[in-house]
Amino acid sequence: MNDLSAKLRRVRALTLKETMQIVRDPSSVAIGIVFPLMMILLFGYGLSLDVTRVSVAMVDEDDSSDSAALVAAFQHSPYFAVTSVHSMAEAKELVLNRKADGAVLIQSDFSRRWHRGEAEIQILVNGTDPNQARIMQAYAQGPVAQWGAAQAGSGSSLAAGPVVVVDRMWFNESNNSHFFLIPGLIVLVMTIIGAFLTAMVVAREWERGTLESLFVTPMRAGEFLISKILPYFGLGMIGFVLCLLSGKFLFHVPLRGSLLLLCLASMIYLLVALGIGLLVSTLVKSQFLASQLAMLLTFLPAMMLSGFLYDLRSMPAFIRGITYALPARYAVALMQTLYLAGDVGSVIWPNLCILAAMATVLLVLTRLATRKQLS
C-alpha cells in the first residue's frame, strides 16, 4: 500500500514538472493550440479545388456566322474568360505567359463540315496543371452543347442521350469538402501533438543526460512513461476539442455517429501517436534525428497516405499495401465514418481493434526499450 502511494506520488511529481515545462515553453503552446487553429482555418478557408473561371485564347480560323455564334456561346459562359487571337502561335504564346489557361481552335472548314454533320472543334489545355485541364475540358461541354441546341432549333436529338444518369451522393449531399477535411484534420492534429512533440521532448532529455540522473532516483521506467504520456495526452485532447468545436460551429459538419465513440477513437489514436513519438526518441536519442524521423513516419503519412487528402483508391497497389502498416489510415476511416455515416459496426470495430493493438504494442515496446537503454 505504501509502495503504491509512493509510486503515485512520483508519477504526480514528474507529471507536474512536465506540465510546467509545456506551459512555460511558448513553442509547446504554439503546437498545441496555434497549430490546430491554423490548420482548421487553412483547410477550412484556404484550400479549394474549385476552378472558378478559366481564361481561354480563342482562335477562329473559320470566321463564319456559325463559328461567330460558337465564340459568342463561350463568351457568354460564366466559366470562361475569352481572349480572341488570330493564330495558334499567338494562343500558345499567351498560354506560355500565363495570360490564358488553354485555347479553343475552330478550324477553317468548320462551317462547311457542320453542314455535312461532322463538325469538330479542338480544345487545347495546358497539361502542366492536369486537374485544371480536366476541369476546363468538362466546362467546354456547356457552351458547345448550348450552341448545338441553338443551331438545331429545339432539336430533340440533342437530349442527353439514350441512357441518363441520375446520381445521389450519400453522407454529403451538398458536396462540401469540409465534410471530409475536418474529420481528417483531427487525425493530423493528434499526430503532430502526439508524435512530433514527444519525440523532441524525450530525445532532449536523453541528449542532455537528465534521464540518466532521473533513473538513479527510485523512479521506474513505467512510471516515467506514464508521466510523459499524461501531459501530452491532455494537450492532444485540447486540440481534439478545438477541432470538434470548429467542425460543429464554424463548418457545420454533421456528427452522425456517437460522440462517445468519436472520443474513444481519438484517444486510442492519440496513444498510438504518443507511442511512436516515445519509441522513436528512446531509440535514436537525438533531437534532430527524432524530429526528422517523427516527421517521416507520422506526419507525412498522416497527410498523404491516410485517405485524408488523397484517396487510397487513387494509389497503385503497392503504395496501398504500405498504408496498411500506417495507423493514420485506420484513424481517418474511423473519423470519416463516425462523422458522416454514423455508427457502422463493420467499419468501426475492426479499425478500432487494429489501433488498440498498435497502441498496446508500441507502448510495451517503448517500455522495454527504455529499460534496456538504462541497463
Partner: protein, 372 residues
Amino acid sequence: MSASLLRILALVRKEFLAVLKDPRSRFIIFLPPILQCLIFGYAASFDLKSVPYAVLDLDHSKASADLLSHLDGSGVFRRQADLARTKDIADWIDSSRALLVIQIDQDFGRRLFAGESAPVQVTADGRNSNTAGTALGYFGSIVDDFNADWRSAHGQAGPPILIVTRSWYNPNLDSSWNMIPSLVGTLTMMGTLMLTALSVAREREQGTFDQLLVTPFRPAEIMAGKAIPNMVIGLTQSTTILLIAQFWFHIPFVGSFLVLYAGLGLFLMAAVGLGLFVSSIAKTMQQAMLYAFLLVMPFALLSGLTTPVSSMPEFLQSVMVINPLRYALDLTKRVYLEDAGFAQLFSDFLPLTVIGLVTLSGAAWLFSRRLT
C-alpha cells in the same frame, strides 16, 4: 578581405563536417527527400485507379448486361457484388465495400428499345466527396461511350459536334507530371529551412555558439558559414529529386538547366534566410523545429502544391505574395515542362530575388543584433 574569405571557408568546412560526419544524420538528410519523392509521386493523385462498385440489376435484359460490360471492360470499375434487394444498397455503401452502387430498373431495356431515355440510378459514398465526384465523372463518361455505341448500332444520329481535346506539355494529363516537379521546391524547402534552423539552435543548446563568438569571426562571417553549406545541401537535394523525376518517373525535361538553377539558387537563399530568421528567435532546438514547422506548413499548403493558388480567397492570395515556395513551384514546373525562359518567368524571378535578399539581410541584422 582574403582573411575573411579564409575564415568563412573554415566555417563552411566545419559546418559540413558537423552535418555529414554522423552517418545517421547523412542518412536523414538524403533519405527522406528520396522516399517522399517516390511515395508522393505515386500517391498524390486525384485520378482513381479502381472504383469498387455493386450493382442492383432489376432488368436483367441484354441492354443492361451490355451497359455493365462497358463498365467491367473499363479497367477501373471493379464489380464487388450483384445485389438482389434495394435495401442491400445501404449496407454496401455504409461498410465502404462499394464506392458506387448502380441501380438499373425493370423497364430499362424496354425504354431503350422504345427510343425513350432510360434512367440509371447511381448512389455514391460521399464520405470523401472529391473521390465520389471523380467516380461519378468516370461513370458518366462510360455512359457517354455506351450511348454513342448504342446510337450508331441503332442508326440514331450522333452528337452534332465533336470536341477533340489535346493537351500541351503533358499529353496524357498525368498527375505525376505536375506533382513531381512541384516536389523539387517543396521537399528542398522543408529540408533546408529546418536544417538551417536546427543547426544554429543545436550550437546554442550545446554551448558551442558561445565559443564561436569569442573567436575573431564577425557576425556576417558566422552567418555566411551557416548559409553556404545549407544552400549547397539544398541544391543537392533538388538535384536528387530532379534526377528521380527524369530517370525513375521518365518525365521529360524540356527546359534550360541554367534558368532552373538560377531560380533554385534564389529560392534557396530565401529558404536559408527564413531558417536563420527562425533560429534567431528560437532558444532551443525544440522551439526551432516547431517554429520552422509552423512556418513551412502554411507555405507548403498555400503554394499551389495541392490546390491551385487562383482558387484561394483573395485575401490569402495577397498574403501569399511573400511565399517563396509559390514562385519556386511555378518556375520549376514551367521550366521543366514548358521550356519557359527568363523573360516569361520575370514574374517569378523578381519576387524570389526580393524575398531572398530581404530574408538574408534581415537574418544578418537579427544575427548581429543578438551577437553584440
